[in-house]
Symmetry: C2
Subunit: 188 residues, 2 copies
DNA sequence: CAACCAATCTTGTCATTGACAAGTTCACCT
DNA sequence: AGGTGAACTTGTCAATGACAAGATTGGTTG
């Protein structure tokens, strides 16, 4: 019918990239299998072959996101200042917003997917390892401290992405995140 | 056709309550105007009369949520310990999960809705007033401190709701929130 | 008290979507 | 050369959101 080749060649990645782009523009609710297919130039049922269903596509995107987050944190190495880890976390969320927004929406993905769980575990392990050195210096229970640190950076990232934070913080998320994380560390 | 009265009498509130219940069970993506209509016992187009469209219903639900949050925080009065405000915030999120989940999803609501913005402003004002006394004692810029506090409790609430936090924190969100907030205040 | 009126709710319809089924094309391997 | 399975297609169905037009009702006014 059309002159495009029957085999796309890289359809899976193309769909994931397109999905991330749609989410960055309009949020996860705007992601439609048929729209992605149109954007990439394939038939409306092609995505189902690679991902099964819509949740399958979201699962693949979230898995990809956890892997990238783990990469970013592992590149960091062990940190003694929470701010470095916080900046990495927030930078990932802002820079890879399309994936980050799906990672913490359990209702959109197949939570029991093995690949997802593995990538999730790797990212969490990397985060914990990165913060371990810092939290050891604190008086409180290390786990409570880790949860506080995670809550702080995660909350900041989501609030920043939603644009509800006061504009006085500036336009650079990393700089603002560092300042906010400094409140927890007590450094200035 | 059926024997139910033509006028429901309290359809608007009934739909909002049903929507909150659906979200608590299955998340915002599971909310369907037609399903809500069925649950409440009206025709499939009845919801549109009260809310216009799906986003209109979500907007009303979010507005309701901001009002309830503002009520909860104002009941608190001025606080000198962040933990009290944090517990109130998290308790609202966990207790009114169906509304909380919609309040921070800009893509689901009509963000420019006047009633929404008013309720939002009231809630944010109440939070800021509650924390003002506490943040004044800190060395850092008060606004940065306020953002840090908000980020911490908001992040904790969302992570808690998603069930990704370690189970060692216990089953009571308020207790865990108090402990985690204590890391920021430095009190133990 | 009757007639109206605006709000409330209904039925009917349409384009879009996700999911599924069955067929077609193609790359690769033997 | 031939087959074999993965990649992709067309076709279809029920469900949904949105819209249009009509039916019902409580209140309100003349």
């Amino acid at each position: 019918m059309s002159d495009r080749p029957y085999h796309h060649g890289d359809l899976r990645d193309a769909l994931l990239t397109a999905a991330a782009a749609v989410i960055e523009e309009s949020g996860p609710a705007a992601v439609t299998l048929r729209d992605l297919a149109r954007r990439v130039g394939v038939s409306h049922a092609a995505p189902a072959h690679h991902f099964g269903d819509r949740a399958g596509l979201m699962t693949a995107l979230a898995t990809d996101g956890y892997s990238r987050l783990a990469d970013a944190v592992e590149r960091l190495g062990p940190v003694t200042d929470l701010r470095a880890a916080g900046v990495a976390y927030v930078s990932f969320a802002v820079g890879d917003r399309g994936r980050f927004e799906v990672m913490f929406r359990p209702e959109l993905v197949h939570q029991d997917d093995p690949a997802l769980r593995a990538a999730q575990a790797r990212a969490m392990g990397a985060l914990q390892a990165a913060v371990a050195g810092w939290s050891a210096d604190r008086a409180e229970d290390p786990e409570t401290v880790a949860v506080a640190a995670w809550s702080l950076v995660h909350g900041f990232a989501t609030l920043w992405l939603q644009g509800v934070l006061p504009p006085d913080l500036g336009a650079d998320a990393a700089t603002a995140a560092s300042a906010v994380a400094g409140v927890l560390t007590g450094t200035d």
